[in-house]
Symmetry: C2
Amino acid sequence: MSIKEEVVKKAKAAHKAARKLANLNTNLKNQALLAMADALEENVDKIFAANKKDLEYGKDKGLSEALMDRLLLTEERIKKMANGLRAVEQFDDPIGEVLEMKKRPNELQIGKVQVPLGVIGMIYEARPNVTVDAAGLCLKSGNAILLRGGSEAINSNKAVAEVISKAAYENGIPEGAIQLVETTDREAVQVIFGLNEYLDALIPRGGPGLIQAVVNNSTVPVIETGVGNCHTYIDNEADVVMAKDIIINAKTQRPGVCNAMETLLVHKDIAEEFLPEVIKKLQELDVEIRGDEIVQKLGTDIISATEEDWETEYLDYILAIKVIGSLEEAVDHIHKYNTKHSEAIITENYHKAREFLNVVDAAAVYVNASTRFTDGGEFGLGAEIGISTQKLHARGPMGINELTTTKFVIYGEGQIRE
Amino acid sequence: MSIKEEVVKKAKAAHKAARKLANLNTNLKNQALLAMADALEENVDKIFAANKKDLEYGKDKGLSEALMDRLLLTEERIKKMANGLRAVEQFDDPIGEVLEMKKRPNELQIGKVQVPLGVIGMIYEARPNVTVDAAGLCLKSGNAILLRGGSEAINSNKAVAEVISKAAYENGIPEGAIQLVETTDREAVQVIFGLNEYLDALIPRGGPGLIQAVVNNSTVPVIETGVGNCHTYIDNEADVVMAKDIIINAKTQRPGVCNAMETLLVHKDIAEEFLPEVIKKLQELDVEIRGDEIVQKLGTDIISATEEDWETEYLDYILAIKVIGSLEEAVDHIHKYNTKHSEAIITENYHKAREFLNVVDAAAVYVNASTRFTDGGEFGLGAEIGISTQKLHARGPMGINELTTTKFVIYGEGQIRE
């Protein structure tokens, strides 16, 4: 079978299963989710054996320590994946909910019902947990899924997908609902990009390179996710103690994730009072500082920031700092460089807070809080399938509701159009 | 200026205007809409002069009668466009509405606010009224618009766009909010497909060729609209009098639109009783019938239906008819050939009605009514910008709410992530 044939065959099977999945009983879906969770825990040895292969191959290939850590599966991490499925079991089933229902003057009764998207394609990098999280959320929302993980994790993904799909099918989930593309050839991704007949949406999860490749090449509708060049603007009327705590949290609590701060903007009137201490503290925490001319004068070991720094999502212990003349200038900088993910202002001023919330164009806009909160769990959506940075369909953290669409159902008594 | 430069310049201007439009006062937008409506009526002579050029050119080019009729602007049609803008003025402004607001355990207050998409691109064919309708809906919902109409209507579109944008800008709408691409070169469309930096969504309106070209070539997120290969299934437990009225309405009341019926499916147990009279009546109304073998025996002058007939959206006085063994078979036929637009069942049976509503995958699913009702006005959405046949973002008739997205606004008091 050619690569194209393999991928199309799997997509077709998912498409076929999706029809049955759309009207599946909630209790049955929940039972399957619990069985999938148990199966993961019962098959740790099998999963470890597969994971070991990936780790060995990764070591030979010279993967970075961070990547190797992402690949690694431990008993605790498998338990976490299983508990993720148990958490999804607890969610309300969104499918079949009537969001509105109205009667028209001609007595037609028109309702809007929540239904699954159908088949969701996921293209992601080296985290095997995405395989489980995505399968669980899709199953609960009545969607079939076509998974395409990174080649580095292929053995782990295969083992995990086999374990959960076997448990799912044994518990009444239609065969074909969970599909993993097993070839690691890049051609498979090109094939997926053109599967409009079988896929209803494609969600990429990974670095900017992966996401841009999907956005630029897929004819299947894409939900763009994840890249976060996030800013925090410290207004001249900020509570400086609060500002300092928020900055340190937004930069250092977990710098490798998309909602971490990448650029700090500081109003010129408080730069001299505020920055020296903050820069020192950040440097103590191993953060490399890159700044404009004024910033460079307010500390030591500060690299001169270039245009590229304002554009970069470091995902690392690096922070760009710029001194800004006004709220308006801060907003202009943000709009010039941001990726529409998460932006924050720190201020005590009522009008500036409202202004910032109103005018900044991003998925999440904050007053007096760390951008690190942009997350499905923190926003109360339960689990998340990704963070949308586009405007169509969903924006910000996407939970189970964002894996649904609607259809109009119309109850008539013989109405015809005049 | 090259074609690319012209198009990019207009998109940039729209993008710039969109920032201001997003926070525009509702009263100001309403005043502008009324001024635009008045300006259309005050400038009929100018618009007629431009329209005459298009009509002459169309005549030379040998456009079909139907296309010539679409192109033609009359005093009545201009009044209708103006009244469309007045109707939009009456709509509630969707922008700024807080759709939900909750408090998290850490006291963060997280709200979801309705905001404009930003800049919407419209690629459409030869109806100058789309220029006005789309501009009005986008303006009310705080979006800038980049219009690209068919070359046949270019002079009419230019005149109309000039009249309404002048009136808009004179009434406080930011300059640049309404952009018409004036070159008729096809290269302009290729440029639009890649304007991800400036456009937030692209909506094609027209025939299947246009829509497929946009879906297959645009990297800007597309909302696929309009193609409707709609079915009506007459169950063996149907009220045959009602069924007949609905069929005639769905096929002949306005066959050239996307919600008209294209294929009739009839249960085998009532085919002999039901079809002869219906076929005769349809033929009297100039409908050409194409049918399977059984259908051909139940009337005269019936052409043998081919695979192509089941696939075709005729948009004409042609109907394909197939005799079907069961509800399940009808659903299978629909899923094989439909474009996920509008599908109907005619039945008196409670269970079959519910089954059809549940399992059929389409934007609008009907029991005992004509598919012709799938329309923003008929569904109570006010005006419509198109009918989405995809599942992401919007499904079915799209009104002003479908031209919006959301953003999360987060009110903190210094919260940091643990």
